[in-house]
């Protein structure tokens, strides 16, 4: 395995030399190794790049890893991964992607993930994105996520991008059936000239479905972030979105959250706040003995859940 791949794996998963259980490891546009478990089966697609992941209802508290690594310049990776989660399954999926460039050409990873959660299943999806390397080439990660969440199923997504990704466009959409739940925690930090665009669209079609969308961003340097969300309540349902951003230096954030209710029983709430770090927070931590810089770091790390 490539040294850089090892470094990336270390950063984006809790990998320490081996993955126990099911996994599929992608490096520079190819699946370089994979493993099934008793209840999780990984099958290569034959019509396009990517895999189908079949998760049986017997899978309980299991983790499957599907990291993708790009280790050099001029790699343009496009992959389709579909997760078929049977009724009653309870699993954690650790995805994530690292892009390393070492020359002037850029590299990108474009992962298209679809989740089909059958009734009563529970998936925790963790995804961490990083960009590394000295090359001037742009590191680009453009994930597309689509989820169909069946009756009483729950999808929890935790996505984290902490730096080094020059450009990202994230597109997340979901459809929720009766009693289905979707919880999204997204944290993005950009610096220098980086840009991040993130879009969410959630359709609550089933009675008593609910979504909780929490987005935290920190824009430093000259970076720019754009956030948009559309939460569509078509029945008796609950939607909550919260978009908080901290600006440092010349960072800019543009947030446009939308709530669309087409039923009188849809209960939708949005909260948003953009601004610099509250001065009193820095001062409080300084009175506890931290320097101004340390205080800022702690506040940002806590805010992003990093």
């Amino acid at each position: 395995m490539d040294k850089i791949t090892e470094e990336i794996l270390h950063e984006i998963t809790d990998w320490d030399g081996v993955f126990s259980g099911a996994y599929s490891l992608r490096e520079n546009g190819e699946c370089i190794s994979f493993q099934n478990s008793d209840h999780i089966r990984i099958v290569k697609k034959d019509d396009k790049p990517g895999i189908d992941i079949y998760i049986s209802g017997k899978a309980q508290n299991e983790t499957v890893y599907i990291p993708a690594c790009v280790t050099k310049s001029d790699v343009h990776d496009l992959v389709y991964n579909d997760f078929h989660v049977q009724s009653g399954a309870n699993v954690t999926i650790v995805a994530g992607c690292g892009v390393h460039t070492d020359a002037e050409e850029g590299s990108n990873h474009n992962g298209i993930h679809r989740f089909f959660l059958e009734s009563g299943s529970h998936v925790v999806y963790k995804e961490k994105h990083i960009g590394i390397g000295e090359g001037g080439g742009k590191r680009v990660i453009d994930p597309v996520t689509y989820a169909e969440i069946g009756d009483g199923a729950l999808l929890e997504m935790e996505t984290l991008q902490l730096g080094g990704v020059d450009e990202t466009t994230r597109d997340t959409s979901a459809i929720l059936k009766n009693n289905a739940g979707l919880i999204i925690h997204e944290s993005i930090m950009t610096d220098n000239e980086e840009t991040a665009v993130t879009k969410f669209s959630v359709d609550m079609e089933g009675e008593d479905s609910n979504v909780d969308l929490i987005s935290r961003s920190v824009a430093k340097g000259n970076s720019y972030q754009e956030y948009s969300s559309a939460i569509n309540g078509k029945c008796r349902c609950k939607g909550h979105s919260e978009c908080d951003a901290i600006l440092v230096g010349n960072g800019r954030v543009n947030a446009s959250p939308a709530l669309n209710a087409s039923s009188t029983d849809a209960n939708l709430i949005h909260e948003a706040a953009i601004g610099k770090i509250a001065g009193e927070q820095i001062i409080k931590l300084m009175t506890l003995g931290l320097s101004e810089e340390e205080a800022e770091e702690r506040i940002i790390a806590g805010f992003l859940g990093a």
């Binding site: 935290r216 927070q281 001062i283 009175t287 506890l288 003995g289 931290l290 702690r298 506040i299 806590g302």
Partner: protein, 240 residues
């Protein structure tokens, strides 16, 4: 010893917030500052912790002039300050905050002991975020606990009684007494609470930016009741 010498504070928005205030705070002693709202008590606390720099006058800590010293450096020299209005943080939990205060990770046992002093159970609160989900009273107690965690030599508490129930208050009073008696801490507490005034060694009254009284509890305490009968709270707890 922490000495304030002829402190005057003018802020762009407000002149004469403090006028020629001199005061010293001694290890093993509890000084209580009291006086009407808006008198300048919190401003004085902020001057000590370095949040405000005085317009004139000097602050001397153990023979060193710290008047221009940063908040961080003062904290590291052993000055701690529990805010009147606690600050909330999104994403920072009680455990982390107390760790920062203690200068490193803190054992659960120690956290338990400290939170107990403010009437909170560590198990219930360690992992709670310091955000708007906590009530005002809970925030206030955690604020006090973080300051207790610092192990500082000079501690200022700004109206610690706010939001604390009667039962927890007893244990807080004990905590204050043990700080001064066993740990030789110099305590400065801004308070209107009779039970805190009762354990004071010195009482200082600040009105309109001036110290109007400064003496031992025996000297000052009886006059408080007399001078302020018009402001006297019928419940017998609050005197201003």
């Amino acid at each position: 010893m922490l000495k304030l010498e002829n402190i005057t504070l003018n802020l762009p928005e407000k002149d004469n917030l403090l006028r020629d205030v001199s005061l010293s705070i001694n290890p093993g002693k509890l000084t209580v500052i009291t006086g009407p709202n808006g008198g300048g008590k919190t401003s004085l606390a902020k001057i000590i912790a370095g949040l405000y720099v005085p317009t004139s006058g000097r602050i001397i800590l153990d023979d060193e002039d710290i008047t221009q010293m940063s908040i961080t450096d003062r904290a590291q020299k052993g000055i701690a300050y529990a805010f009147q209005q606690p600050v909330s943080f999104k994403g920072i939990n009680v455990r982390t905050l107390m760790g920062i205060a203690a200068g490193g990770e803190m054992s659960e046992m120690r956290m338990c002991r400290i939170l107990e002093k403010v009437g909170l159970c560590a198990r219930d609160y360690m992992d709670r975020e310091m955000d708007s989900h906590l009530s005002g009273g809970e925030m206030k107690r955690i604020e006090i606990a973080t300051v207790l965690a610092r192990g500082a030599k000079y501690i200022v508490f700004d109206e610690p009684e706010a939001g604390i129930d009667l039962w927890s208050f007893t244990s807080l009073i004990q905590a204050f007494e043990s700080l001064k008696d066993y740990e030789e801490v110099a305590l400065l507490i801004i308070s209107h609470q009779e039970r805190i005034l009762n354990i004071a060694d010195e009482i200082v009254v600040i009105r309109d930016g001036n110290i109007t009284q400064n003496g031992t509890r025996e000297e000052v305490f009886p006059t408080l009741m007399k001078n302020n009968s018009d402001n006297y709270c019928p419940k017998g707890k609050e005197m201003f």
